[in-house]
Symmetry: C2
Subunit: 222 residues, 2 copies
DNA sequence: GCAAAAGTGTTCCAGATACACCCATGT
DNA sequence: ACATGGGTGTATCTGGAACACTTTTGC
């Protein structure tokens, strides 16, 4: 079976930067390439777009195939199309990034099995193709969005404490934040509500648990 | 001649939202489609990406073909890929937007010849395909970037007055700005310098002419 | 001299920043 | 009782917003 066109067509893929927070670190999911080119190198998960699915559907399909996760935050990042970025044929990739909440259990890659693994942003291996460039852009986008949106909430489980949320900010920004100012800012948004419950976590005062008012919305703030 | 692949490939195009400021209005360049589908409807300029050119090169080529203009600001906007957005075959389009300075003389479309024309953003015709959606996103991006970058400078000729620049802001934002606050903000950026020259424009005090320090850079501010 | 747009400073307000102590719990 | 992290309020600073008059020119 073969497909013919009157003029040349590029291949189109989606690649996904899958972020989560684990072990007090911002981590990204990478896959070890089994085939050339870049055999044995680590790469972003991704694959060809089917002709009957939208770009976002393609990205969500890849995401589900690699992690078993669905229903998480996914945003188009940028489209990369240097003619020589893949030595086999012309491949244009529409890059997305996804944020996975910290409590999403049994992500396939959590097992670190067969060539799928989480990497901390400071322990990245060499990446195949132009994937390092894609990953860097995704990180920049994420850092930028922390400032003017509620994107960080997408890393949180349904119920979370403010110190937990603050830690997410600190890990992504790479700097410490003032506890009182952080609380003031978050609470003044009016986008979280107390659940009335608390989380006890060791030999200290328990923290109040909150929920997002609109868990699946990322709001632009300020 | 025909091109064959082992699995189906989509077509990839670039479409360009070309903005300029003319006659005290933000205008966009549209082309009347000569062929089906949407024959006779207005559409964004664009075309297929050649296999040996990058996406941005393809967009610049289309831009030059339609307007004769090169060397202007061009930024990738978003990639649109709904499976049914073109009835002929699967077409994925990487949308760009371009900003053309107000003094760029003899833009081909300025003549309003044969099916190429500038439209004010409040006099838009029905657009082919999903081009209305693309245009709306471009306008939103432009408005957003006014606030946190020097993107408006890209509409200005080499030398310009502050009242002229202010008018560009006002036209894009659709609201009046305070003259003193505007001046203070722009001058405090330190990104424009006086030329020492003035522009006389009628029966009133002449305005000082300024130049951008980095005419081809769009700086993120604030 | 009059009409028209250019140029110029100060006050006020709101939101961000800096900062230190008490509280609830487990051991 | 003490160690640990959770929770709280105020003073200060800074950048944005509001606001009115003088200057230079063409006619």
């Amino acid at each position: 079976m073969s497909y013919s066109y009157d003029y040349p067509h590029p291949a189109v893929t989606t690649d996904i930067v899958i972020f989560t927070i684990r072990q007090d670190e911002l981590k990204v999911l990478l896959i070890k390439r089994a085939l050339p080119p870049h055999q044995g190198a680590w790469a972003l998960p991704g694959g060809f777009v089917n002709l009957d699915e939208s770009l976002e559907e393609g990205a969500r399909r890849e995401l589900a195939e690699e992690t078993g996760v669905s229903g998480v935050y996914l945003e188009q990042l940028y489209t990369f199309g240097r003619p020589d970025r893949d030595p086999r044929e012309r491949v244009i990739t529409v890059a997305y990034y996804a944020l996975i909440p910290t409590d999403t259990i049994e992500i396939r890659a959590a097992t670190d099995a067969e060539g799928v693994s989480w990497f901390g942003m400071n322990e990245l291996p060499e990446l195949a193709f132009d994937h390092r460039e894609i990953l860097d852009m995704a990180q920049r986008r994420l850092v930028d969005k922390l400032d003017y949106s509620t994107i960080a909430f997408q890393f949180m489980p349904k119920e979370f404490t403010l110190p937990e949320l603050q830690q997410v900010y600190e890990l992504i920004l790479g700097e410490a934040l003032d506890k009182r100012n952080f609380r003031k800012r978050i609470l003044s948004l009016g986008l979280v509500m107390e659940t009335g419950k608390e989380r006890k976590a060791g030999a200290h005062r328990p923290a109040k648990l909150y929920r997002s008012i609109h868990p699946d919305r990322v709001e632009v703030i300020k």
